[in-house]
Assembly symmetry: C2
């Protein structure tokens, strides 16, 4: 996961992965037939690890669905700071360059993002039913928009060589979602860093 | 530009570029010392072409800065449909995999995205001065958020193998920006496609 997030899929060699993992090429090929099979296993592992991370996060235990939704966004802001290869998304990084050329990897990334968005959409649907039942937006689309904002914030952080833009983008995302859910005046934008 | 947008930087070979351009390798190396130099030239060309596209677009001639801002977003929606290698961003694709390993490419992508965001931010600042002078958001940050949403929408479109999500994400972006600029009730979300 770490090597692909640092240099992308095509530039990652089996030798790179073996060096990072401290294993031999023989050991690698005992487990995986190819780099592609390794990448698919990395996606499955990523989905399991991140799924558990969100499920066990404190926001997930809030009784009010709107608190869960806004708590999820705040949680993404809290974990969205640090070294970019460690905080950015394996799936978004992988799919950016493989979508036309590695169909199985694209499908795995698409399934992983969709599954996570579905979890977010469930809380958004419950919050909408309580706080914005007559609004014309779709919780499923809003959940995907949330993921798009996060993925794009990672791209901008890479382009700028600076993680600060991630928090700034999540502030705007939070304000939009709070508005849609009738959460009243949004909190002031974080001022700790200038863009 | 087309080859990199289809398969990413590392997977792109000089042979691929020569085949797509219909030139010989000798001709390629007459113009560029390396694949990296070619990619930097592609970024410069991209910036020139897209800069002219936005400058000549009809929205750019609106007198009201808020109309220019919302017109820009509508224009991005209009050009955000089609075959993904033809409508996605060269810079976002390049930087996703090169940010740690190719510093000159990262810098060029960062500069290109920042320069475009600066143009968008000028209209946002003018619109804020007219319609939301006391609000606590920063036009520069909002312009970067706009770029993040677009970049992330491209990532999701690739993951889903479907360009429709781009329009859905831009609808949410438009509603947020319209709200910040006091544009009143946002238009209904486009209903032409379901996610």
């Amino acid at each position: 996961m770490q090597v692909i997030r640092s240099k992308g899929y095509a530039a990652t060699t089996v030798e790179d992965v073996c060096a990072a993992a401290g294993v031999t090429k023989g050991s690698f090929f005992h487990h995986f037939k190819s780099k592609e099979e390794m990448a698919l296993a990395a996606v499955a592992h990523w989905n399991a690890v991140t799924g558990a991370l969100f499920e066990q996060a404190p926001y997930h235990r809030q009784a009010d669905p709107r608190e869960r939704v806004l708590g999820y966004i705040d949680f993404r802001r809290a974990i969205g700071q640090g070294a970019l290869p460690e905080i950015t998304c394996l799936l978004g990084t992988l799919v950016q360059e493989t979508f036309e050329t590695w169909p199985a990897i694209r499908a795995a990334c698409g399934d992983g993002i969709a599954a996570h968005a579905d979890v977010v959409a469930q809380d958004m649907a419950a919050a909408k039913a309580l706080y914005a039942p007559d609004a014309d937006w779709d919780p499923q689309v809003l959940a995907l928009f949330t993921q798009a904002t996060l993925q794009g914030a990672f791209v901008l952080a890479k382009a700028r060589g600076d993680d600060a833009i991630i928090g700034h983008c999540i502030d705007h995302l939070r304000q939009h979602v709070a508005n849609l859910l009738g959460a009243g005046a949004a909190p002031a934008f974080h001022q700790e860093t200038s863009p």
